[in-house]
Symmetry: C2
Amino acid sequence: MTSMHAIVLGSAAGGGFPQWNCGCPNCVAVRERRPGYEVRTQDSLALTASSDPMSGRFVLVNASPDVLSQIQRTPALWPRGPRHSPIACIVLTNGDMDHVLGLFSLRESYPLALYVTSSVRRGLEESAFIRTLRRFPEQLVIREIALGERIELAGPGPEPEPLGLSMVASPMSGKLPVHFVGHAKGSPEDNIALSFSDAGGRSLLYAAAGASADVVLGEHDVVLFDGTFYREDELVRLGLSKALARDMAHVPIDGETGSLARLAGLEARKIYTHINNTNPILAPDSEERRAVENAGWEIAYDGMHIMLEGENR
Amino acid sequence: MTSMHAIVLGSAAGGGFPQWNCGCPNCVAVRERRPGYEVRTQDSLALTASSDPMSGRFVLVNASPDVLSQIQRTPALWPRGPRHSPIACIVLTNGDMDHVLGLFSLRESYPLALYVTSSVRRGLEESAFIRTLRRFPEQLVIREIALGERIELAGPGPEPEPLGLSMVASPMSGKLPVHFVGHAKGSPEDNIALSFSDAGGRSLLYAAAGASADVVLGEHDVVLFDGTFYREDELVRLGLSKALARDMAHVPIDGETGSLARLAGLEARKIYTHINNTNPILAPDSEERRAVENAGWEIAYDGMHIMLEGENR
């Protein structure tokens, strides 16, 4: 029997929850450990095709700065020998610092395959990130993601071990990472959604950051979607910034063009992730939390296991 | 009354404890939560001159990749307003990835002062790290450390707020970080020990990495010293590497030229830190742990508070 098993390693937007220098009501509440508030690390997902995660090999979606504590909290990702990791490869959804920095923490002489689009690869090369990574003695095998093409995920070896999972990348409207500006022009490859499938046809879409909910999502069993902001002017209302959600290339949950309205008809298990520290859905008793849950959405949390099993589709 | 208060934010060497891809006996024991084994993050220290840490401003020694979880675990470092941090400045002991990466996690539009030697600054500039950091809109004020000169630590503002702490840097024999090789020549400024003093003359030495214990240490109330390896051939014995401690520029604890023998006469509160995951002093019942403790040394742990108070010297 085939299966797909996903573990949410991090469910927060960049900066995490709480954010180190933020004293907004949500951050204060989670620091005080008020009931219902949970610490969240920066967005990342681990996926395996094995029906027993404790023996499966994993693909990591994004390498967050929190990757070491994320691995430590997740027994399925612990080594199974003197020098070992169940992580076989890493896929990046874009070149954001919050998705790339973790690569520098995974460099103790362990081979990994890295899947990136050519535009993200160029950005990483020209901003010297890959040059720096290459200075460490591990074998970092880089493979390019072409939009719309099905890719069979595999480990880094000379005869790459297939992981039993395939993926297809679609463009999502996004924003060039600050550290790429000047090095690279905007491209549809800058920010992608990833559709993962197992051999039985079960599928999961990871679309954790995007400026619009009007994307062709296709049919999926599970959809993880951008839950960064509840409202367009969330940061402005809190007096923390002048930036609107759209200035940061995130479609808010609320409003006519928001994800709650636009994805109302989507038939799938629907989960918000990449949640910013200011988002009122993080407050357990908020009306915004109720609105999201009443519409059938779940809210991702660190350590959430998502199992896709049973009959093939 | 003046005072100095130090908090060990991280007490492990690069990679942390457990290390993500290591299955050595220590790493297995800490993952299984066996009694006496404690998780350790990568080396960093927070210091304040305030007698009440909850209202003091802090200097951070090194910005580890674990900095966000280190701050989160330490109430004295939590924000005291909507956008705030008690951290005023950061001092780097060298340009190692494990001391620099955290800077990328502290970039949510918050001004900080960064103290580095000119050789570390050059390395960071030529390997494009500082260029990348400068792309973010915060104000990163960089100040150079000259060896042997007393520096009054201060915040980043145009009229820098003094922190009530001064420091003097001494060279420690070290090794050029891998990502600087080719960009920079070796220099006595590559790796330093830092002697911190408050206005009352109390002092703390942070010498967390060095190839020799034959350094002029001067008089200090507290000395935090390199506890990376217990033995010269520790990694070889465990079958994990061919590298000796000296190949990695760390003086071991044991042996004729080891730190336990060479620093036996040092009059100070003595604490080993920057402890590698393989070091047998991490095992609560080991003879090596007993040897170190019988010689009057303490072993740093994450969250350890070191208070220097009372009469001026």
